[in-house]
């Protein structure tokens, strides 16, 4: 076996892959939350739909997206490989379960990760797959009067079968025609069970990252008495609290809006 293969087949090598993919997925969450904050804009989905359109049509983002999908798969597969190895390291279990001091999330990363994987599959098939491959989404047309900066919105029925989007200016009016993923958000989050599922999955993210973020730093060997408190603080408050609350507010807010329709 080559030295390189040996490195990544070793226990520490596999853990390195878990840590690197995990941290990459953490950075993705920041971008994902940042972009999705556009959902809170009261513009009938203009900003959000434009943003979704940009994400799916900008080549560098496409490349990063595929790195992201690979990271999710690698993180999950390596988690499974490591878990099986860990199970086989203790073929006969204890009669009295270990009572050692260890956080609940640190002991349940596999369970939390499994919830997240299920969530990612459902989430991506409902939004990402619908957007890219399913022709069920309708189109919206946003007309912005460039003189007054007032936007009006209407339905748009494409004239050609493979219509994707269009931006044009006529008589000082900017016309943007894009897929209406915002309507899918509204429709999805008007269902209570769907909102509940999202909130549970987001709670799983919180607990997964509460342990995962700082654990990744430990695995990489980046532990230092001077900056470790910063890692803990960031992992706990930013990834464990602020990011999950930000994500959870979206389904809850849209459910609230649907009640007042």
């Amino acid at each position: 076996m080559s030295e390189f293969k040996q490195t990544f087949n070793s226990s520490l090598g596999k853990k390195l892959i878990m840590a690197l993919t995990g941290l990459f997925l953490c950075t993705f969450l920041i971008v994902h939350l940042g972009g999705n904050l556009l959902l809170f804009k009261h513009d009938q989905g203009f900003a959000f739909n434009s943003y979704a359109n940009f994400l799916t049509h900008f080549p560098p983002i496409e490349v990063i997206a595929y790195i992201l999908y690979i990271s999710i798969i690698v993180h999950a597969v390596y988690a499974l490989v490591l878990t099986l190895k860990n199970r086989s390291a203790r073929p006969v279990g204890y009669a009295v379960q270990p009572k050692s001091d260890a956080s609940w999330s640190s002991k349940n990363m596999g369970l939390l990760g499994s919830i997240l994987l299920l969530f990612i599959v459902i989430h991506m098939s409902d939004f990402w797959f619908s957007y890219k491959y399913d022709n069920v989404l309708k189109f919206k047309e946003y007309r912005t009067d460039l003189a007054t900066n007032v936007t009006t919105v209407g339905e748009y029925v494409p004239q050609v079968a493979d219509f994707e989007r269009s931006i044009s200016t006529e008589n000082n009016v900017e016309i943007v025609r894009v897929k209406d993923i915002h309507a899918r958000v509204q429709e999805s989050f008007s269902k209570l069970w769907y909102v509940a599922f999202y909130v549970i999955a987001i709670a799983a993210v919180a607990f997964h990252l509460l342990h995962g973020f700082q654990s990744a730093f430990r695995t990489l060997g980046w532990v230092h008495r001077k900056y470790q408190p910063i890692v803990y603080f960031f992992g706990t408050w930013f990834f464990g609290v602020i990011i999950p609350i930000g994500f959870a507010l979206m389904p809850i807010y849209y459910f609230y809006l649907s009640l007042n329709k």
Partner: protein, 263 residues
């Protein structure tokens, strides 16, 4: 002083040898003094078993003062019992209350097969040590202690790691039966000091390779090992080991077999 005032029920793992299946057997431990150590309590039980012509319970023990790392009982869900920073031999019966049921199990790890009853074969640790847990020096007259200056924080950290007695409680406590706390303590103890530098990057590769070979699990940084370690070896050592390992594998020239004394 109170003596002979405790009656306990023991659920003890009995297993003839590594080939046979084991099971729990219940024993009464009567007239136990709260001043006895846990091992002395087992001595009393064994004496009565011997008198009845029963096979005494096998358990590992040697120094009985917390420094040899022989004793290794998993008591009521804790390696070395419920008290912090002590070994089983330093655990006293006053920790338990009269009438209590105590469950005693051996370390559970594929790499530590049960030899008999509560005794396990921990020679996997010896083989990891032999793979690189040493420094190769030509011995001779000791040089002046002040000739090599070592900052106090570094010396303290190295010494703290050197207090590891290799008992295996970290493996027993870990949900993944990982040996990384032990291995990282040995690596740190040598890697932090000037004498350990020449072999630092071959050592970490050799010891990690041997650790993997022995079939231990993988660390998930739960911290259970650190919580149960009788010598309070810290989790930071594992991060240091990871750092040295990745440096060695990705940025250094040394191979695992460049370790001069290992051959």
């Amino acid at each position: 002083m109170s003596t002979g005032n405790m009656n306990l029920t023991l659920k003890v793992w009995r297993q003839k040898n590594s080939q046979t299946a084991g099971k729990f057997v219940t024993y009464k431990a009567e007239g136990i003094s709260e001043d006895m150590s846990f091992l002395e309590m087992l001595d009393v039980v064994n004496e009565s078993l011997t008198k009845k012509n029963d096979e005494p319970i096998y358990f590992d023990h040697d120094c009985r003062e917390g420094i040899c790392g022989s004793c290794s009982l998993y008591i009521n869900g804790h390696p070395h019992g419920p008290k912090k920073a002590i070994t089983t031999c330093q655990l006293h019966m006053r920790t338990f209350s009269d009438g209590e049921t105590i469950t005693i199990e051996p370390w559970r790890s594929a790499a530590f097969p049960v030899i008999k009853d509560l005794g396990t074969d921990r020679s996997a640790f010896d083989r990891i040590q032999q793979a690189g847990g040493f420094i190769s020096v030509n011995t001779g007259g000791a040089q002046d202690a002040n000739a090599i200056l070592i900052p106090k924080v570094v010396a303290d950290e190295a010494f703290n790691s050197a207090t590891c007695i290799g008992c295996g409680a970290c493996v027993a406590a870990c949900k993944n039966a990982s040996a990384m706390l032990f291995v990282s303590a040995k690596i740190t103890q040598l890697g932090l000091l000037p004498q350990g530098q020449p072999e630092r990057y071959s050592r970490v590769q050799a010891m990690v390779a041997q650790m993997d070979e022995e079939g231990f699990g993988n660390c998930t940084n739960t911290g259970a090992c650190e919580a149960e370690c009788p010598k309070e070896i810290t989790l930071t050592n594992i991060a240091r080991m990871n750092n040295d390992f990745f440096s060695a594998k990705l940025f250094r020239e040394e191979h695992a077999h460049d370790h001069t004394g290992g051959e």
